[in-house]
């Protein structure tokens, strides 16, 4: 799941105030946190409220696309809905916003959300956690299925560092200490009877695989 968080309303109004008729488009592709029609309608209502309070006049409509990362589907879904529209606010991830700009270059498409990471969802409270950095050279087979690139704050290959205490990483995020990825790897490999995998000296990582913009051509 590509996880997003909402942009501040003031910033969004900043983009939209130059326009009159805005189409707020959700995305059904990665829908948790929900970005589909419901979210588009909620955003429309929120912006209406905000615009009213700030004395800005704005016409807003809600719509959604099955997946915004597909140029063809984007075109076929929205082409007929753009009559009279002078701007699009997309609730999709950064990918979707760029696709919309490419497919409909005559209209500006603005992001309604900040894309924050690729992650999975816990049951309690629907909290998401990052799990993958798309680093291009996956070592999950050696680390018992726990990714140190995404889950270690330093993305170490031969961890843990000296900052692992009581199984937690020294770095605090939003007041929370997360598990030391290497401690988790140690425990898991021990469980699986594969501590020699833990001890392995891993050579330098090819970070050039993370340099963008990446393409799947020739891969």
């Amino acid at each position: 799941m590509i996880v997003v968080k909402p942009k501040p309303i003031d910033e969004i109004l900043g983009f939209l105030s130059k326009h009159k008729n805005v189409l707020v488009v959700g995305c059904d592709g990665c829908t948790t946190p929900p970005r589909g029609l419901r979210e588009a309608q909620t955003q429309v209502n929120l912006l209406k409220l905000a615009a009213k309070l700030k004395g800005i006049s704005l016409n807003l409509k809600a719509s959604t696309i099955a997946k915004t990362c597909d140029k063809h589907i984007v075109y076929s879904t929205l082409a007929s809905q753009l009559e009279g529209i002078d701007a699009i606010l997309s609730l999709a991830c950064g990918i979707g916003v760029q696709v919309l700009n490419e497919v409909f270059p005559q209209l500006p498409t603005y992001p309604g959300n900040d894309t924050i990471f690729n992650g999975m969802q816990e049951k309690e409270g629907g909290i998401f956690e990052e799990r993958c950095k798309a680093c291009g050279s996956c070592i999950l087979g050696e680390t018992g299925g726990i990714c140190p690139i995404a889950r270690c704050s330093k993305s170490l290959l031969n961890g843990p560092c000296g900052g692992c205490f009581e199984g937690k990483c020294e770095v605090t995020f939003n007041g929370e200490k997360h598990d030391c990825a290497w401690y988790l790897i140690y425990q898991r490999l021990k469980e699986l009877g594969r501590l020699e995998d833990f001890k392995k000296l891993r050579p330098l990582k090819d970070w050039s695989l993370l340099v963008g913009p990446r393409s799947s051509m020739g891969v």
Partner: protein, 394 residues
């Protein structure tokens, strides 16, 4: 019926009337009543364990001396409500339905043969005393009664379904002995469960993720299904479905939007009258609103099958339609009839709305209060303090 102290417990036993017969003690399905022993006569009395008591009203029904009163079973109030309903619609038939069963318009139409029959919702049809049904008929409130209790497995108040069938069967046989047409009371087991509209489902899995009963499931190729056996009609899945693909009769997206629009008219009237309109979303288990006196109070009510059904979208829409404040009344977590998920879900949903509204300085306009259904005054207190807060703001 007002308690003498604030937050008084919803069940009271009049010690003077009570004969200590202990019928209530034996009948209580939750073992919440005990007869205290003692040397002195004053020490012998029936005591209610407030933790165990579910305010189901069975003891009220069974007490031969009317010594027990239960908050929302005030016979007079219910009869009056029924009377008003029948007068307003001009109908002589009345549907009495459990809150939980919430029969669909279609199922009522199927049973009764036509639309437009007024529906009186009681917390549990099985707990309402037989007397009530008698009086509805004998006092000429209605000529026919259609009772829609919940199916046994669906009952949220334990055995209410079974009791209602037994009672009503008994009632009918009684009527037969009196040579009255037993058909004037009909009984239909009912449930109100969530359904997926497959054409709209995008297979996102939110319903499965949040369903407290593991009734919703998403499997490849990505369409959700709701297991009828397991669904308890709480409506949480409706609030999290990104494409409004799930319906729960009476609480679907379209219905709520329509109802909101109607209430908006009421809000406008209130504003013209110089009153700040407030919308109260209430969990059907947490609160039973009394109709406000006159039209000028500006308080509008919208019922939810469970506070977890609360959709942040509706809260924002309400503010857009001119409501000055939105109050959500949810059950305290340990009292939630839906595996405690409803209250928690409502809180989380509302906090996301408040975060967005705080950017506009509006988060004070929206509140959630957790009230204990067993202490009916709590809801009243929460409502009046919220109203004061809204009134007080310039």
């Amino acid at each position: 019926m007002a308690g003498s102290e604030p937050l008084s417990f919803g069940l009271t036993i009049d010690e003077e009337l009570c004969s200590r017969c202990s019928l209530c003690v034996y009948t209580c399905p939750f073992e919440a009543l005990t007869l205290l022993k003692g040397e002195l006569p004053e020490e012998r009395k029936v005591e209610v364990d407030r933790e165990k008591c579910k305010l189901c009203g069975l003891c009220y029904t069974i007490c031969p001396l009317d010594a027990i009163t239960v908050q929302y079973y005030s016979m007079e109030d219910l009869l009056e409500m029924a009377r008003q309903l029948c007068l307003k619609t001009g109908e002589r038939s009345l549907v009495v339905a459990c809150k939980g069963s919430n029969p669909t318009d279609r199922s009522i139409e199927e049973k009764v043969g036509r639309r437009g029959i007024p529906v009186l919702r009681v917390p549990c049809a099985g707990r309402v005393p037989m007397d009530f049904y008698f009086r509805l008929l004998s006092e000429g409130v209605a000529d026919r009664l259609h009772v829609f209790p919940c199916e046994e497995e669906f009952c949220r108040l334990k055995e209410g379904g079974k009791i209602s069938f037994l009672k009503l069967d008994y009632l009918r046989s009684l009527l037969a002995e009196l040579k009255v047409d037993g058909g004037i009371i009909s009984l239909t087991k009912s449930v109100n469960k969530a359904k997926v509209n497959e054409a709209k489902c995008i297979g996102c899995g939110n319903c499965e993720h949040y369903c407290p009963y593991e009734a919703a499931m998403v499997r490849s190729p990505g369409i959700a299904t709701i297991d009828e056996e397991k669904c308890m009609g709480c409506g949480i899945c409706l609030a999290v479905c990104p494409n409004f693909a799930i319906s729960l009769e009476g609480y679907e997206q379209e219905t709520m939007a329509e109802n909101l629009a109607k209430l908006a008219e009421a809000a406008k009237r209130a504003v013209r009258g110089g009153v700040k309109p407030v919308l109260v979303f209430y969990c059907q288990w947490a609160y039973t609103p009394k109709p406000p006196e006159g039209d000028g109070s500006g308080i509008c009510f919208m019922e939810l099958p469970c506070a977890g059904r609360l959709d942040p979208l509706h809260v924002i829409q309400a503010l857009n339609l001119g409501f000055e404040g939105v109050l959500v009344l949810a059950c305290k977590e340990d009292m939630c009839n839906f595996e405690e998920a409803g209250a928690k879900r409502a809180e989380i949903n509302l906090s996301s709305v408040k975060r967005a509204l705080s950017q506009l300085g509006l988060d004070g306009k929206v509140e959630i209060s957790f009230v204990h259904p067993k202490y009916p005054r709590e809801a009243e207190e929460a409502l009046s303090s919220f109203l004061n807060k809204i009134k007080g703001e310039r």
